[in-house]
């Protein structure tokens, strides 16, 4: 096992680094050496090591700065700082930038051996953990969708089957639930995957422009039509056309779209040629289409044409088990893309995320995690990195029809505690329970005082 473990020893003094390298080599590690910070960063960039032994005082870039730069390239490699000039200040500085240990030269060989073995084992467990988590996530994945919720798994299965046909799919769900991701998943899982995927946001199109946008126009069809323009439907031939916010489609366009869905034929505006187009239509809406049909604002016949296969995406608050999974997934994605060494979300912060009611659904969670990664000053996202509104007890659970009794109880206790500055006696009196019962409930619900009151 040690044979694969690579240790980078960085020391400007030749006899020191060769002595350490010999000694670690004898312990069975694969050891590389660097004479300074720049060389270490270059070597690490070429092939990362599993452990770093860094001399503190070196000409040029010192050990602390070397470690800081290695951290900025997104590595969480454990680092042991070794120095002949130990001070409390340097030890604190080393720990602040995330050194795993701090040793003074000459080192106790037994101590060094134990520390190196401990860190290497810890790193191996960490890597195994990441690999296992990825493996587990894979079983929850469907293209870009991620869920272990039973309803979502049923949707994945439905989408997988629907993708094999050319049937029209209507996706309904609140804003931010991932309707476009489902549409793209249908496209990618279908035999049209090599064809185009075009999305049209119906809410963003003026009725007058919508016709030309969808069906195209011939040169000279109207005053500004200086060139022939192919419409989105024509351009999506052999592919998938996604109508987002279909509920916002105006009455005239509803008729035109219905005609196309019935015949699969179109004519460009101002043209006579009838074009046959092979396209799969997927539509999505966050508006209650059925209700709009009853009201008469959405055509019943178009609704039936669109609603051949129906997908209802549950809001995030109804699939709370996905919050840690999605939170970790977004964390890793944003940490990698911002090259920040943020490793995980603390249990207190995850508790807040898990209890929040997420009116903006997965998109809101994604934005919250992105913000937290950007603001986070360490490798751990804490409650302080979350937006203030999320940390307010009343934000956690609204006593809506989907809230459990336990969730309401937890939210109410948290609200009373916050309102009374976490004065246990007063809070217990208001809640009508004794202090010990309140303590037990605080422990049971894992409630955390996020903003301590001074004094």
């Amino acid at each position: 096992m040690n044979g694969q473990t690579r240790i980078l020893v960085v020391d400007d003094e030749l006899h020191m680094r060769s002595a350490l390298a010999d000694w670690l080599g004898d312990e069975g590690y694969d050891v590389v050496t660097a004479a300074g910070g720049e060389e270490a960063i270059r070597l690490f960039g070429e092939r990362p090591a599993d452990l770093l032994l860094l001399d503190l005082k070196m000409p040029g870039i010192d050990g602390i700065e070397t470690m800081r730069r290695i951290r900025t390239i997104g590595s969480s490699v454990p680092v042991i700082i070794i120095t002949a000039y130990a001070t409390i200040e340097t030890a604190v500085a080393a720990m602040k930038v995330g050194a795993a240990d701090y040793l003074v030269k000459p080192v106790n060989p037994e101590e060094l051996s134990v520390i190196v073995r401990k860190l290497v084992t810890h790193q191996q467990v960490l890597q195994e953990n990441i690999a296992l988590r990825k493996q587990l996530e894979k079983s929850y994945e469907f293209h870009d969708l991620l869920s272990k919720n039973a309803r979502m798994q049923e949707i994945f299965s439905l989408v997988r089957s629907a993708a094999q046909s050319s049937a029209t799919v209507l996706i309904q769900g609140e804003s931010g639930t991932g309707k476009e991701l489902v549409a793209r998943a249908i496209h990618r899982a279908s035999d049209r995957a090599k064809g185009p995927f075009l999305a049209i946001s119906c809410g963003a199109l003026a009725e007058s422009l919508c016709e030309s946008e969808l069906f195209g126009h011939e040169k000279g069809a109207f005053t500004d039509a200086k060139f022939l323009k192919r419409g989105k439907i024509e351009l999506a031939d052999k592919g998938t056309l996604f109508f987002d916010e279909i509920g916002d489609l105006g009455p005239k366009m509803q008729v035109d779209l219905l005609r196309f869905l019935q015949t699969r034929e179109l004519q460009r505006v101002g043209g006579n040629e009838v074009l046959r187009v092979d396209v799969r239509v997927v539509a999505a809406t966050n508006r209650p289409l059925e209700h709009m049909v009853e009201e008469g604002t959405f055509r019943r016949d178009l609704y039936y044409r669109l609603n051949v296969i129906s997908v209802f995406l549950p809001p995030l608050r109804e699939r709370r088990e996905d919050i840690p999974l999605l939170g970790d997934h977004f964390l890793r994605w944003f940490a990698a893309h911002t090259r920040k060494n943020v490793e995980r979300i603390s249990s207190a912060a995850m508790g807040i995320l898990a209890r929040y009611h997420w009116p903006g659904n997965v998109r809101e969670l994604e934005n919250v995690v992105e913000r937290a990664v950007v603001l986070c000053g360490s490798n751990l996202i804490t409650p302080e990195d979350l937006p203030e509104p999320l940390r307010q007890p009343q934000a956690l659970v609204e006593a809506g029809p989907d809230a459990t009794l336990e969730a309401v109880e937890r939210a109410h206790i948290e609200r009373v505690l916050a309102h009374n500055g976490w004065n246990i006696q007063r809070s217990a009196e208001i809640l009508g329970i004794d202090r010990m019962t309140l303590y037990r409930k605080i422990r049971r619900f894992n409630l955390v005082r996020t903003k301590p009151v001074p004094g």
């Binding site: 020191m16 060769s18 060989p109 037994e110 060094l112």
Partner: protein, 188 residues
Amino acid sequence: MAAPTPRIDLMLAGGVTGEVGARVAQVVTERLGAQVSLSRAPAAAAWGKSPDGAQRDAGALLESLLAGAGETRLLLTDADLCTPVLQYVFGAARRGATVAVVSLARLAAPAADPRGPALLAERAGKEALHELGHGFGLTHCREPHCLMRLAHTVQQVDERGNDFCSACRDHLNEVFSAGPTQPGGSRS
């Protein structure tokens, strides 16, 4: 053709007793088939425990042993040894040169241990063979009972067996067949 017999000059420095020296000479003869000559190191060389009890630098000691060395030289000292990197070492060797040093400072049995001097001599013998092994070009070995297994503690020295594993033994046989070795790096 039989391998040439290695000749080892074993020197005792400071308060290292003749009994311990004789025991080490015996195991080195048995395990390496060496011809060992036992002598006391010159007092002027200051290779034993210093009057103030300060540690001696193992590397510097090897350097001074190297000067004028003809045969393989092994020094047993009562001085506590260190290196610029490590707070203490049980011994050190210059690979291929071949000089080696073993410190008895940390190998003594606790006062209450009835095995007392015998245990010290046994540990000294194991360490002497270990450092000579480095001197003859061996690196540390992962075989649990091989004499070349790394030891940071006296307990780990005790856990070693009394002989080299077959792979290390093969290496030694090759070295002895090839004749005198060339200077190389130091090991501890």
